[in-house]
């Protein structure tokens, strides 16, 4: 059982400079308590209810990270602390372990904690057990992806700062395998002028874990961000991305898939702010929801006054695999500029029985037929990944989840 008080207690006091940054947010968290469903933004994710409900943590099955097979450079963060940093990590990338109390370099001191916007996110900073700050220097183009792999057996808070400087390029592979009660992860990403980040995030949780990840992000002029988020559900799994397009002519592509296993929950909440001219964004989110499972997508796009020439597209679709499955799709557009192009669409349905019969009448059994149709449904999320190796990792995880969904029905 965990209350706000339990959550606010950490065994390793963070460095004082960090605690100072997060003090305001911590105060907010103390005042308001844990987020719950009467807060509009948390409508579909009642964290307070989940953490307060009776019952200890039940360990789930061992989770396997498909990215490890790629053999690239990676950082392993276990129970919120940096455990290992692969020797293959290019020397030019500056990496700072945030669990130490020594004074951090100026670029960390300057940026860390500037993108905190709510209580829980602030707690991830103020109460962090550890974390990592990474800086890709100007102009550095990294050919191979870098892995950021999180796993845990205990509740913890962790903080990540990623700065991609002018003209630099990075592909980041993020993986989550949590078994503790609550993993509270706060990530800040800053893309400077002309920087490019390809970000693939795969979250798998077992047992009774609750995973809350908040990404606060800023894109400067001419920068590109392409993300692929894959989530398979947890007792409560929430990814919140707050992205400010501060510079002109930025490109942003967000794709997400939520294949939610029976009885599990998955919430992807995106807050995208077009604040400058000629910024372009496109979002495609797809959900496959099992029996008694719940998937939510909340996508608010704000186009500020003066952000003329904005082009923003958004599409969210869900397939329900059982009468007890639930999908909540909430696209929102707030437009304050005059000269913009914005399009959005949302649709929820079940598997087409005609299509399934046709495939079975041609020899595919029920499981194969459903899998073919569902894979086709998810293709335009995974299909846009440029790396075949990474695509294959995602398909492995998706196929496993689809098999589990098929077996459960």
């Amino acid at each position: 059982m965990s209350t706000v008080e339990d959550l606010l207690h950490t065994s390793t006091p963070p460095a004082s400079w960090i605690a100072r940054r997060g003090a305001g947010a911590l105060e907010l968290l103390r005042r308001e308590g844990l987020p719950h469903r009467r807060i509009e933004d948390w409508k579909y994710s009642d964290l307070r209810e989940v953490l307060n409900s009776a019952g200890g943590t039940r360990a789930g099955k061992e989770l396997h990270n498909p990215f490890t097979a790629l053999g690239g450079a990676s950082l392993e963060i276990v129970d919120g602390v940096l455990l290992t940093a692969s020797a293959k990590l290019p020397a030019a990338i500056e990496m700072v372990d945030l669990s130490g109390s020594t004074a951090p370099p100026p670029w960390v001191e300057r940026q860390l904690g500037t993108l905190v916007h709510d209580g829980l996110c602030g707690a991830a900073l103020a109460l962090m057990t550890g974390g990592v700050a990474l800086r890709v220097p100007s102009g550095m183009i990294l050919e191979d992806p870098v892995g950021l792999f999180f796993r845990s057996h205990h509740s913890h808070h962790v903080r990540i700062l990623l700065v991609v400087e002018d003209g630099a390029e990075l592909e980041l592979l993020e993986h989550h395998a949590h078994q503790g009660q609550l993993a509270n992860i706060g990530i800040e990403i800053i893309l400077e002028e002309g920087a490019s980040l390809r970000h693939v995030r795969l979250a798998q949780s077992a047992g009774d874990a609750a995973l809350v990840e908040t990404i606060g992000m800023r894109q400067a002029k001419g920068s590109c961000y392409q993300s692929h988020f894959a989530d398979f559900g947890a007792r409560l799994s929430r990814l919140e991305l707050q992205l400010d397009l501060d510079g002109v002519a930025t490109q942003t592509e967000l794709r997400g898939l939520q294949v939610v296993l029976p009885g599990r929950h998955s919430d992807m909440t995106i807050r995208l702010n077009h604040r400058a001219e000629r910024t372009a964004s496109a979002q495609v989110f797809k959900q496959v929801v099992g029996a008694k499972a719940r998937a939510a997508y909340q996508g608010r796009i704000t186009v500020a006054k003066g952000a003329d020439g904005t082009d923003s597209r958004q599409s969210a679709k869900a397939v329900l695999l059982a009468a007890s499955a639930e999908a909540d799709l909430k696209p929102e557009l707030l437009i304050f500029a005059d000269d913009v192009q914005c399009a959005h669409g949302a649709a929820i349905g079940d598997l087409d029985a005609e299509a399934l019969f046709y495939l079975r009448a041609r020899g595919l059994d029920e499981l194969e037929a459903r899998s073919l149709v569902l894979r086709a449904f998810l293709e335009d999320v995974i299909g846009t990944l440029s790396s075949d190796a990474v695509k294959s990792c995602l398909w492995t995880a998706v196929d496993e989840a689809l098999a589990e969904l098929g077996a459960a029905s």
């Binding site: 046709y358 020899g363 059994d365």
Partner: protein, 249 residues
């Protein structure tokens, strides 16, 4: 090959087939004709094993086995093929991937070795040419945006690829103009071999000028009410269904 005895089938509680009996020998082509609502599509769906079609009494024996206890995929593996009147569109699944998945699923069920992508493509191209099915169609999503004629030609391509023992063609001629009809009929006729039986279900006699049946059955009110040789089809064309239905009542 196929022995249907006194088959009664209900759909959503309403009886559609009311004691249908039919025997199809090996290598024979039988035509089933009848007015709208007579139960022609019901018959084809029951043979393919679709959900929602309840057999209340009677039997269907296919190659000596009880067909009614087999799921649709088992029937396909044993050589039952239904060319649908309205082929289904499946977005996101390319035609060629579908053909490979289906062919290999059937081969797997029969303990035969599976074909790799290149072999399937070769087999498909071979048969696609004579049916005027382009490479582009093979790469597009299954049936999505295909014209009526293209969809029917693709059904025939599947028939050529899967080599069924019993092919049921459900109103294959519907929505086709003369040229499309000829092309489809040519494709079907090429597949007329001794080991293969066909049930050609049609409302109009026209198709039967091209796919000449060995035997014609008239289905009305859920039962076979008349049988004869190919001349019966011409007679129906000339005089319509009403007199036969009246005579049988």
């Amino acid at each position: 090959m196929l022995d249907i005895k006194d088959l009664h089938v209900a759909v959503e509680g309403k009886e559609i087939l009311k004691g249908l009996s039919l025997h199809v020998g090996e290598g024979e082509v039988h035509a089933i004709m009848g007015p709208n609502g007579s139960g022609k599509s019901t018959l084809s769906y029951v043979l393919a094993g679709r959900d929602g079609y309840d057999i209340t009494s009677g039997s269907i024996i296919y190659k000596g086995e009880d067909l009614t206890v087999m799921p649709p995929e088992a029937r396909a593996a044993r050589g039952v093929f239904l060319a649908l009147q309205y082929p289904v569109e499946i977005p996101g699944v390319t035609t060629i991937n579908f053909l490979k998945a289906a062919l290999n699923a059937q081969r797997r069920a029969r303990s035969e070795s599976e074909f790799d992508a290149m072999t399937v493509l070769r087999l498909v191209r071979d048969k696609a040419r004579s049916l005027d099915i382009s490479e582009d169609m093979l790469r597009r999503a299954l049936n999505v945006g295909f014209s009526g004629g293209e969809k029917k030609r693709l059904e025939v391509l599947q028939m050529a690829l899967f080599e069924p023992k019993l092919a049921i063609l459900d109103e294959t001629d519907s929505g086709l103009d003369i040229d499309a009809l000829k092309l489809v009929a040519e494709g079907v006729n090429k597949l007329r071999v001794p080991g293969r039986s066909m049930l050609v279900i049609t409302h109009y006699q026209r198709l039967l000028n091209y796919i000449v049946p060995d035997r014609v059955h008239v289905l009305a009110g859920g039962r076979i009410v008349a049988e004869g040789g190919k001349e019966l089809a011409l007679e129906l064309e000339a005089r319509g269904y009403s007199h036969i239905v009246k005579d049988a009542a």
